[in-house]
Amino acid sequence: MPRAKVTFQDIDVSVTVPAGTRLIEVSEKVGAGIVYGCREGECCTCLTKIISGAENFAPPSILEDQVLKDNMAPRRHRLACQAQILGGEIVVMPA
């Protein structure tokens, strides 16, 4: 199975994960500072800044895209509860 490496810059932890993992699954397990609200891509609480490797996520769904726009999220920001890791290396931090 393809693997990816995600680094949570705020706690300086890198985790090797299987492709297809959502960011929320791994950030909660390592205790990163990304916080969650609805966990359904609606409240925007888990807005996350992608420092590098944004292209290694699956593109945002129509729902996520709309929520990002509604909340005036800057570029290179994703919802951790929605963002699905595809491979490569990614560095993130709480927005």
Partner: protein, 425 residues
């Protein structure tokens, strides 16, 4: 409440020329949203603003008070005059009459904050109607009513993501939604006429606004430059006498009360309870370990000797929190849960959290506390420490290491770790 019953009728009440209160009174309510006590009931304040080219309605009321709202509204405006509906906050006690208002005033365009859009759609679901024409607005946007301009201020999280304030520059009137409000029903309506409501104003801040203290300060900074003749909140007295005093009080309430001696350092609070001294020894070792790291100020508290309110104030200011509890009957002990349940009244999001404790049989307390800390949106990057009964020298050194590790996280000195998802619990 019967006080000053003559002061109000079924009609609207003029609060400034061409500006009316059209809200509703709920004097017998004794608890609000389950969590707030309301000895004096509450009011749902809505307002009508008349311009030369149109009429604006600002907020509505709780649904079962709709008749009062519409009766008062009809006493000062006809539905075909309403061009503008402003929603400063979409919680149901302010948007309950909205679906019916939209039916009665089909010309109206709805102005709301950008973050309120999805809430509006969700609120209108039961009516089965298509959402109305709405315009998301933010600071700098305005609506011209003819001779009167409504300007919007983006003031989110007071106390929902959607909240905003609306200002009439020509009159110096600020409609604030829940901020500066309180649950205090008095038919005399205005702050210079109603009974003493100060306790309610501060109680409301403490229970509704305090978790969003940083946003309160942002909003206060946005409002302070405005000329203010009157603050019109969505609950409680209308603040026409010395409105700036209430703004000033909010700044005070949202600012730490005492000078913080450790403000240049990171602060770690270690709370514990201990039946036989074992969890206490762990706490002391964790504190000692954390103190080995420069730039961290550690405080140690025995929860048996204090109460949650005092500790809640401390937690609000702290950077890191560690909680120690023995396991009794497969659970953490009650004072720990009392403190952890009280933390919803302050903002702990993103603080560093950790748990530890001695146990005899099963030791569930530590994991249960960690789960609660995650639920409170703390980050818990260091695994908690469970020690069976009496900690020996090596185990106390483990406690020191835990303290060190927490201190390193607080000061940005944590060592880089490489993990595999497969080994994470």
């Amino acid at each position: 409440m019967a006080m000053g019953a003559a002061a109000i009728t079924d009609d609207a009440v003029e609060i400034a020329p061409g500006v009316h209160w059209v809200g509703a009174l709920d004097p017998h309510l004794r608890s609000f949203d389950i969590i707030l006590k309301t000895a004096n009931g509450t009011s749902y304040n809505a307002y009508v603003v008349r311009g030369e080219n149109g009429v604006a309605v600002i907020d509505t009321v709780k649904e079962n008070f709709s008749d009062d709202f519409f009766r008062r509204l009809e006493s000062v405006a006809s539905y075909d005059e309403i061009t503008t509906i402003v929603l400063n906050h979409l919680e149901p006690d302010h948007s309950g009459a909205l679906p019916e208002l939209l039916r009665r005033a089909p010309r109206a365009r709805v102005y709301l904050s950008t973050r309120a859009q999805m809430m509006l759609k969700a609120l209108l679901k039961p009516s089965g109607e298509k959402p109305p024409a709405y315009i998301p607005v933010t600071t700098g946007d305005s609506v011209d009513l003819g001779g009167r301009t409504l300007s919007f201020l983006h003031t989110p999280y007071l106390h929902w993501p959607d909240t905003q304030c609306t200002y009439i520059e020509e009159d110096g009137i600020l409609f604030t939604g829940d901020i500066f409000g309180c649950h205090f029903c008095d038919t005399r309506l205005f702050n210079d006429r109603v009974g003493d409501f100060r306790f309610s104003f501060e109680y409301y801040y403490a229970h509704i606004m305090r978790p969003f203290r940083a946003y309160v300060l942002d909003a206060v900074a946005l409002i302070e430059p405005l000329a203010l003749n009157l603050i019109a909140p969505a609950h409680g007295p209308i603040l026409r006498h010395l409105p700036r005093e209430y703004l000033h009080r909010y700044r005070e309430l949202a600012t730490p009360r005492l000078f913080n001696e450790a403000r240049s350092e990171k602060t770690l609070l270690v709370f514990y309870l201990s039946a036989y001294g074992n969890t206490r020894r762990m706490a002391e070792a964790i504190a000692a370990g954390a103190e080995r790291i420069a730039g961290v100020r550690v405080s140690l508290y025995d929860l048996e000797g204090g109460d949650s309110d005092i500790f809640t104030d401390l937690v609000e200011e702290a950077d890191g929190l560690a909680f120690g509890s023995p396991t009794i009957n497969a659970d953490a002990v009650k004072p720990i849960w009392d403190l952890l349940s009280s933390l919803t009244s302050v903002n702990v999001k993103g603080k560093l959290g950790a748990a530890f404790g001695s146990y005899g049989w099963s030791g569930e307390a530590v994991r249960l506390i960690e789960d609660r800390l995650r639920g409170l949106k703390l980050r818990v990057p260091v695994d908690g420490l469970r020690i069976k009964l009496v900690p020996d020298t090596g185990e106390l050194e483990q406690c020191c290491h835990l303290g060190e590790s927490l201190a390193r996280h607080l000061t940005g000195q944590s060592e880089h770790r490489e993990l595999d998802m497969a080994i994470l619990a």
